[in-house]
Amino acid sequence: MKDTRDPRDMKDSDRDFLAVQEDALLVDILATREDLSAFADDHIAQVLGSYAADVDEGLELVVNAQLPEAPRPLTQDQGDTSPRRSARFLIAATTAVVLVGTSGVAAAVTGDPLSPFRSVVKVVSGGGHTPTADPGRISEELPDPASTKAEVALMLNEAKQALKDGDVEKAQRLLDELAADAQIGDGLSPGLEARIDKMQDDVDKSAGGQGGHDGQGGQDTDKPGQGDPQDDKTKHDNQGNTSHPEKPGQGDEKPTKPGQDTKGNGSDGGSDGSQSGSGSSKDPTGSKDKDRAKNDGNGSGKQDDTGTGGKPAGNQSGGGQVKGRPDRGPDKPDKGTKAGEPAKEPKADSGTKGQLVS
């Protein structure tokens, strides 16, 4: 809206005031983005209009644009519809089922649910030689079969050497220690067991050979200074009773290992006073040994360990000490029984594995 007055009729102040008014009106129109047709002949009004339009272009999109929501935390549950999550669950479930099944089968077969994993643990831990955080605990839980076999072989060699040197007692003691160690006895290979049996037979032979002169077959009494002359008398009285008391110093100081007397349980009942005990540990019934002991009970004191029909029943000894290979089974009673000590209560049916026949 322009002033229609003639500029020649206006004062300078009036002219300036009108120009200010006119520009104020123009700027108000520009500010409100109204139509500029009233200022069509004003070049600066047109370019300012273009300027304002350029500023406003796309402004609605910018102003009204919704800000994106903050991303959800990564820990938030995304739901169970994810295929990757389902695959993970399936893998975990399958693994758990396989592990439990393997452990169950192993527990049923071997009694040890962890046995399938011991080899894995051994491989992972570097063949069992890698030190772990608690080596003592690991070694306690997982005994090393290799070291066990080596220990058994070493003890057998020592026993063999002792036997070669004539130290039957030492050899027997070593065998007893082997038998006493239940951990060793549980995991032995058949070859080692055979070696132990053979060594036991050799020891028994040696003991029988030494003790056969006096008919008692006890290796203890043949030791110098250990035997009691009275003992010989006692043994020669044809009582056939091996439970007579022995005097101190007869070499009965060795404690009988667990289960030792369950197989070589000396029993009297023989008629000729000879003591023939068969300590076969393989014949569960002991019938063969029993019969053979009876048949061979001629009082000669010779050992009856021919070994026919299975393991040799070479566990005969005098003085009531009947040594067979100790049983390593679960029933290992009579811990406190001394080796070489006569059975205090001879049992009539004690010859399940061997018996003394007098």
């Binding site: 983005r33 300012l48 273009s50 350029d54 402004l59």
Partner: protein
């Protein structure tokens, strides 16, 4: 808060907020009231975007720069709110002071940054065609060149009045002037623009 939204032919959106309500809104926002802060930023956002566009232009290189600068201004205002104390100076002056510094930062950084290439739009572009855009951009470019020749106070006044769309009273509050002084100053600025434009045509 009384907010008047006026839409004109160009699609412009003008927000008008009564001064008293704006002061109360700013006070509540400064005390940390989330709703007040959101309302205040909503009120400021169109003005800030226009200001940045008016100062930085809308060439392909500076289009996003202006919008980004506006966002930076709003963030700066939000961060500065807890430290804002109403000492009689209008809040608009505080906001446009921040905006002026941010625009200056963008102008300095524009010389050192790469120019991103816009993606090809997937839909139909209903905006101005290339010829119209060239003419408009030509006019806008010429206006910015003329504005750059003005003294800073006059340039700021014209940007607030024309680009941002503030009234004489609002511009006066932002620049610490009376509405009458704003009108006289804008008349002086337009007179100089006409002289500069005549010089450009002659040249």
């Amino acid at each position: 808060m009384a907010t008047d939204v006026t839409a004109t032919g160009g699609g412009a959106i003008l927000h008008r907020t009564e001064n008293g309500d704006l002061r109360d809104l700013v006070a509540r926002a400064a005390h940390g009231e989330v709703g007040a802060q959101e309302a205040l930023l909503t009120h400021l956002r169109p003005m800030i975007v226009r200001y940045c566009r008016g100062r930085l232009g809308r060439s392909p290189a500076a289009d996003f720069a202006a919008d980004d600068a506006a966002q930076e201004v709003l963030l700066a205002v939000l961060h500065a709110l807890p430290r804002y104390r109403d000492e009689g100076r209008p809040f608009e002056a505080f906001v446009f002071g921040i905006a002026a510094h941010k625009v200056a930062d963008v102008q300095r950084a524009a010389f050192r940054t790469a120019i991103p290439t816009a993606d090809v739009p997937d839909g139909v572009d209903l905006a101005l065609g290339p010829e119209e855009r060239a003419l408009q951009s030509g006019d806008s470019h010429m206006v910015r060149m003329l504005l750059d020749r003005l003294p800073e106070n006059l340039r700021e006044l014209l940007v607030l009045r024309v680009a941002v769309g503030l009234s004489a009273e609002e511009t006066g509050r932002a620049l610490g002037m009376t509405p009458g002084a704003v009108r006289v100053a804008q008349h002086r600025a337009l007179s100089r623009l006409r002289i500069y434009a005549a010089e450009e045509v002659t040249a």
